[in-house]
């Protein structure tokens, strides 16, 4: 009798291996490689074709990972700190793709800080993943701006400066989707990435992603063991299609549902004792600040707002992407030009 094994495919008929990239050149045990895996899983499970995804990145170990997932997607590995404006230009003229950006804590919280903040203010639709390990890995281990003041390098050097919490900062400048996770937490990462990809605005996911080589020692606040000891998970996340038949019963008050703009629902079942309303911006600030005071590494979805207009809507663009407009649609008629030139006669 013949044994047949069918390889599973998603709803668009692709196997998971269609989402693979090249072999990673990152250090063995690097948190960023896990981020790659979650991106692959998220896109595969979301039935998004790789040719629909634009992979954007800056410079750094983090920014190398677009090479390690979805080889059949276009990619723009740009300059240090410039992923945000590059993505803005691309998305505005070619909006009918999913933009997935990967940046590091140097790329985003130092050189790219201005770009990060203004991207969020404009609410450009992009899934913005920050691979956050508290150091500059590729240049061999200097502190980044997200390292806590208490942290210490392998050399014993102490961090003298106050850290930037990219999640609080994002909230402060109006971010409409703010989350934090840990590269090892697939259950949290995958639905977050899926929701972020469909979000009608900037979706920031601050991913603590330990640097195995330079910042995984005692004294680091971004090491695997530190995360294990301090991680407090706010919610369990799930995504439900309205077409899904399964209904899950939750006890009253345990679940918050957020309608996403692609017709799906994000279901958040609280795990922690505090009941956090992800649609309350002030509550998000509070829960973040309190967790900082208590030395917790709080992960989960802090805030989401699907009602805010994105940059694309504010620009009132044609339905057809700008890149597809032809000569005849762009060049004014002679009559129109003569009318304008009349002001100069």
């Amino acid at each position: 009798m013949e044994a047949t094994t069918t390889v599973p495919t998603n709803k668009i008929g692709l196997e998971k291996k269609a989402y693979a990239g090249s072999a990673s050149t990152l250090c063995t045990g690097c948190g960023h490689d896990m981020i790659s895996n979650h991106v692959i899983t998220a896109c595969y499970q979301s039935d998004i074709h790789p040719n629909q995804v634009a992979k954007m990145s800056g410079i750094g170990c983090s920014s190398k990972i677009p090479a390690y997932f979805m080889s059949s997607s276009f990619a723009f590995n740009s300059m240090h700190g410039r992923m945000a404006p590059i993505s803005t230009g691309a998305k505005v003229v070619k909006p009918d793709m999913f933009y997935l950006g990967v940046s590091g804590d140097g790329d985003t919280a130092s050189i790219g800080l201005g770009g990060f903040v203004h991207l969020i203010r404009r609410n450009l639709p992009i899934c913005y993943i920050i691979a956050d390990n508290g150091v500059y890995g590729l240049t061999k281990g200097q502190f980044s701006a997200t390292a806590e003041m208490s942290s210490v390098l392998k050399t014993g050097e102490k961090n003298l400066f106050h850290s930037i919490d990219v999640c609080s900062l994002a909230l402060e400048v109006g971010c409409t989707f703010v989350a934090r996770s840990f590269s090892g937490d697939a259950k949290q990462m995958v639905p977050l990435i899926q929701a972020a990809l469909r979000h009608n605005g900037t979706a920031v996911i601050d991913v603590v992603s330990p640097c195995i080589t330079f910042n995984n020692h005692d004294g680091s606040t971004k090491s695997y063991s530190y995360v294990k000891e301090h991680d407090v998970v706010l919610q369990e996340l799930g995504l439900i299609q309205h077409t899904d038949e399964q209904t899950v019963d939750y006890a009253e008050g345990e679940v918050q549902k957020v309608e996403l703009n692609d017709g799906r629902e994000l279901v958040l079942r609280k795990l922690d004792s505090r009941a956090h309303n992800v649609q309350d911006r002030a509550a998000a600030f509070k829960v973040l600040h309190e967790s900082q005071e208590q030395g917790e590494l709080l992960t989960g979805l802090f805030y989401v707002n699907e009602q805010q207009e994105s940059l694309l809507q504010k620009l009132n663009l044609t339905q057809k992407p700008l890149v597809e407009l032809q000569d005849a649609e762009l060049r004014p008629t002679s009559e129109q030009m003569q009318k304008i030139l009349g002001d100069f006669r």
Partner: protein, 595 residues
């Protein structure tokens, strides 16, 4: 009596509405068919500092800068003494009768005319807060009367410029009339020796600033994305594009067929352009020197990763913050060499408002055709002053979108490699994101890459790639606008570029009067092609005329053509004012006579 041949210097305070009044005067002369040009010398300030408006009328159309005026009108107590010094012999100086001219400044060769401006202004209006504005219209009326400017033309200009509100129009008309009447009643004995006379105006003439011309050119030329950071003197170009696109680029449902993003700084402004160019749009940023400096890193990225993009620099005086409201051609060298590493950016050098319009498309044809950053070098004089020109040629020129492979095209090829030279001209083929063909996607990176766009540290692969980029430069020589050569067979040649064009006809006229023959070549683009080389070869002495201190164009020519270095002589002007025909003529004659 000098007909259509005079220079006026109007000295006021900025923010007082004088710009509007000065434009009425300029426009009226223009519509009379008088060849005329206007220059605004304004401070880097919003209100309260001195500003001057120079109008030059000339029967032969020589409207470039002159250092002295025939008629000076001054309203500014701060500058009225220095304004007197700008008056040429035989000139007329109109000043408020409340000012006292110091004895030591009085000259026998000029006529000083005190005018009771305050009284005339009070007669024009009771409204305190518009008196300042109205005073300007009084001198418009006064000058119009003595110059014999056609009053119906002037009135029409007033209507066109200020006619939106009837009350505004009325008070301005009244002020003009009061100024004119005062002149009629008091200046009969003045022996005023300048006059404007109506000439046939060819129907298709316009008077326009270079920035507006460029903005229109961008709309005509298919620009769909602009990102920018405000900076003098490029701001008005972007604001012009926004204004014109809002009128000319809406679809049937009122949606925008363009996008403009005001970026948080120049780093973002130019990198947004790169993202848009990569995705397939005709994308531009306009800036000035300080902004261009910030764009240096990304310029190298554009060169190396071959991303079509345009940077339009309306140059002002540098270095550093410099003189934001003065003109210079001082960024040429840094533009040509913008970024670290080996790179060569094609540069366009518009010299007229017509070229500002035309290059609004040419820049993109080249950027996409070559898959490079193209830098357009305009300047404050060209960009912000008013130039009379033939109306723009609106004949559609098809957009050159360059070598872009669609999904259909990819079906027909066996392999697609992003940086492979297929045609032998150094220019590879590209695909655009969203192209669903499995061969289409590739990785764009600023790090070392091979022909397949893969990361490489391999010496041979990197060398090959850099060689191919050099080959592209050779191809570019045939694609960029050719220089304009006038004359032949003379021993002396004169090479120049950009807004120096405004004084070149006058210069040649002067030189001819003095018996000096020269051939001229106006460079309109870099790389320099065969014609530039020919010109340098065929002349014994070549003067390179430019508006910067360090002879930047001459240096670039020497770098490219070291064999002609000994023949090249610099002629520079760099005080922030536009160059004059007098300067070029004088320096050239002095130099030639000393041999």
């Amino acid at each position: 009596m000098k007909v259509n041949d005079f220079v006026i210097n109007i000295a006021t305070v900025n923010g007082s509405g004088s710009q509007s009044a000065n434009n009425v005067l300029l426009r009226s002369l223009f519509r009379m068919g008088v060849p005329v040009g206007g220059k605004n010398i304004f401070p880097s300030n919003i209100a309260g500092l001195p500003t001057w408006f120079w109008i030059r009328a000339n029967p032969q159309g020589f409207v470039g800068r002159k250092p002295l005026a025939d008629i000076v009108v001054t309203l500014n107590p701060q500058t009225f003494k220095e304004d007197l010094k700008t008056l040429a012999s035989g000139g007329f100086y109109f000043y408020p009768s409340t000012f006292v001219i110091p004895e030591e400044l009085k000259r026998p060769d000029i006529t000083c005319v005190p005018v009771p401006f305050k009284q005339l202004t009070d007669e024009s209006t009771d409204i305190g807060k518009i008196k300042k504005l109205v005073t300007n219209m009084v001198y418009v009326g006064l000058l119009a009367e003595i110059l014999k400017i056609d009053s119906s033309i002037l009135d029409q200009v007033l209507r066109d410029q200020l006619g939106k509100k009837a009350s505004v129009l009325e008070v301005n008309q009244k002020a003009v009339a009061i100024g004119a009447k005062y002149a009629r009643d008091n200046f009969a004995q003045l022996n005023f020796s300048f006059k404007a006379e109506k000439k046939d105006l060819p129907k298709d003439k316009i008077i326009i600033d270079g920035n507006s011309a460029a903005a229109l050119g961008l709309v005509q030329g298919g620009c769909t994305f602009a990102s920018w950071y405000p900076i003098t003197p490029s701001t008005s170009m972007m604001e012009g594009f926004i204004k014109f696109a809002d009128k000319l680029r809406k679809d049937e449902s009122g949606k925008n067929k363009y996008a403009v993003v005001q970026a948080e700084d120049e780093l973002a402004a130019f990198t947004m352009v790169l993202g848009a160019g990569w995705a397939g749009a005709r994308a531009i940023t306009a800036t000035s020197g300080p902004g261009m400096s910030l764009m240096a890193e990304a310029a190298g990225y554009a060169y190396y990763a071959e991303v079509p993009s345009v940077l339009w620099n309306v140059q002002r005086v540098g270095p550093s913050t410099g003189l934001p409201t003065r003109t210079l051609q001082g960024d040429l060298m840094s533009a040509a060499q913008l970024s670290h590493g080996d790179k060569k950016h094609p540069i366009l050098l518009p010299g007229t408002v017509q070229e500002c319009f035309e290059f609004g498309q040419t820049c993109f044809d080249l950027a996409e055709g070559l898959q490079q950053l193209v830098i357009v070098m305009s300047d404050l004089d060209l960009g912000m002053n008013m130039w009379s020109s033939d109306s723009f040629d609106l004949t559609p020129r098809p957009y050159n979108r360059g070598k872009v492979l669609s999904a259909e095209a990819l079906e027909k090829v066996t392999t697609f490699e992003r940086y492979r030279d297929i045609d032998g001209d150094g220019i590879p083929y590209r695909t655009l994101p969203g192209n669903k063909h499995p061969k289409a996607p590739f990785f764009t990176r600023g790090s070392g890459h091979n022909a397949k766009a893969q990361y490489t540290e391999n010496a041979d692969e990197h060398f090959e790639n850099m060689q191919r980029l050099s080959l592209k430069w050779e191809t570019a020589k045939k694609m960029v606008p050719a220089p304009i050569v006038k004359g032949s067979g003379n021993k002396v040649g004169l090479v120049y570029y950009g807004s120096t064009e405004a004084v070149m006809e006058e210069t040649l006229f002067e030189l001819t009067q003095k018996g000096q023959k020269v051939d001229t070549l106006r460079i309109r683009a870099i790389p320099f092609g065969a014609q530039v080389e020919e010109f340098l070869k065929n002349h014994e002495t070549i003067y390179v005329v430019e508006q910067n201190r360090d002879a930047q164009m001459k240096s670039l020519l020497v770098m490219e053509f070291p064999q002609f270095a000994a023949k090249l002589k610099s002629m520079v002007h760099f005080d922030g004012t536009p160059i004059t025909a007098d300067l070029i003529t004088h320096k050239l004659l002095t130099s030639e006579r000393s041999h």
